[in-house]
Every structure is written in C-alpha cells, then in structure tokens.
Symmetry: C2
Subunit: 126 residues, 2 copies
DNA sequence: AAGATGCTTGCATGATGGTGCAAGAGTGCA
DNA sequence: TGCACTCTTGCACCATCATGCAAGCATCTT
C-alpha cells in the first residue's frame, strides 16, 4: 500500500535479447500484480483508463463503478503499488494514468517464459 | 469450483487476424484467471508444473509447498476451473498438466488489446 | 472381501480483503 | 482567514478465502 517502486520489473528481457531461461518463470510471476487485477472493480478501473486513455482524475474514474469514491481511491493505490498505474498530483486533483507499455511488456515476457519452460505441444494443448 | 469449461476464451484474435478492437479489453480481462494466479501457493504450483513439464500427480505437485495435500487439491481445482490446468484421471491417480499454449496466447492477446486501446507513448511510459 | 492408496469434500477456524462512513490533509478561491 | 473542493486514511463491519483435520469416494492389491 505504501511502496512506490514499480513491481513489474523493467523488461530486462529486451536488454538480454529474446532468450528466456526456464528458471526465470517463478521470479517473473508477480503475485501482487495478479492480485491487483483479480478484483472486478479494479478491472473496471483498468478498463476505463485503457479505453478513455490518458490521465484521469479520481472523480472521473470513480464514475465507472458504483462504489464509494474512497473505495476507488484505495483501488487506485493498489494498482499504483502494483506498478500498473502512475499518479500525478496537480493542485487538488490527482491524475492517474495506465502504464500500458510496461504492463503489456510484462504479459508478453511472462508468455515467453512460460513457453521457454514448456515448448507448446500442438497435438495436446488446446 | 465446479465449472469445467475453459475460462480463457479460445484465441479468436488468431482467427480474426491481428486486429484487436479497443472494446475487447474489458471482455478479455479474466478476473477469475488473475484471481487464480494471485495466491502464492497456486503460483508455486504453476511454477512447478511449468518447470517440471508434462503431467504430474497431486502428490508430486504437493511437494512444492508445505501445505496439506487437501489444500493443494483445492488449489489445483481452482487453477483447472480457471482454464489453466487440465486434469486426467488414471486409476487412482489424477494427473494435472499446465495448458501452456492457451495461457501464453491469452497473455499476449491481452497485451495486444491493451496496446490497441492505448498506443504506447515512448516519451512518457517507463 | 478386506485393506491400502490417491484424491476429494465437509466442516470449523483464522486471516485477508472489500466496503461505507466520517474525519483528516492538502489545495485553490474569495 | 474562512470555505469549498479533491483525495486519502482511520475505523468498523461483513464477505470471501486459505487452511488443517477428518471423513468419504474411487481404485488397486492381496
């Protein structure tokens, strides 16, 4: 709740090239990130920030769900601490922005790690 | 807990080609999948199944964490209902297998949907 | 048939987490 | 300085969930 650092590790795979070792998987698995995405209202918030794009104030974001604004504020903090959102204070307002690239990169890196561990078997994997 | 169907929708993006619409994002966001991955022991189970590869019995999988075997059995059911694992009963044993390809495809599809909504801005996204 | 093995399920318990309300902190305006 | 506005935080409540133990179910062995 208090940690500011980005929980999604910077895409070192890009620096190291496309090679992904098998043992990387467990370290890649960000339980906190998944936990952040595992709540319906937080998913709605993420969807809102993705579709509207750019920065949005807490009040604007809160329109996407029926819960109290304080609840939305807390959800935003969770997403921010997970490294998915970035907060920027301007005057009284706090504008949140979805960190699209880091999140998308993380998802792809995780997919790569998975398949690096277990090469897909076309005949059995559905 | 009881549902057998795969919660990860079959990769229709592959059928429709690389085009991903923005409004797809919310439907792509599988809260149940993320919830399944948001528990440390389940993440360990997934890591074990990924690194060892192939099918593993419940007893074998249970060695990866310190909790009771019944707990592991329940975690496996959650992962199976989320569409990540496949169970196959053989005699007394039940062998679980990680569905690598569907999971990896889902993660990449989600990444594509995200960037389809919000084209990455190189100057601001870290 | 009887017992052993492998796994699942019912039940109770403790921990975690989402929620609303009220209060607080920070900022802008008159 | 006082007030309105925006957001965060403390607190209490309730729901969900992870866990261990015991019992149950299915299968294999003798």
């Amino acid at each position: 709740m208090m940690v500011q650092e980005c929980k999604i590790s910077p895409s070192d795979s890009a620096a190291d090239g496309p090679r992904v070792a098998c043992c990387d998987l467990e370290s890649e698995l960000s339980v906190e990130l998944f936990k952040a995405l595992s709540e319906p209202n937080r998913a709605a918030i993420l969807g809102t920030l993705a579709t509207t794009g750019g920065q949005r104030t807490v009040g604007e974001i809160a329109e996407c769900c029926t819960v109290d604004l304080s609840v939305v504020s807390r959800h935003l903090a969770v997403l921010r601490d997970a490294g998915i959102l970035e907060a920027q204070k301007r005057g009284r307002e706090v504008r949140y922005r979805l960190l699209v690239k880091p999140l998308a990169d993380y998802l792809r890196r995780l997919a790569d790690s998975l398949e690096a561990c277990c090469p897909p078997r076309e005949e059995s994997d559905t």
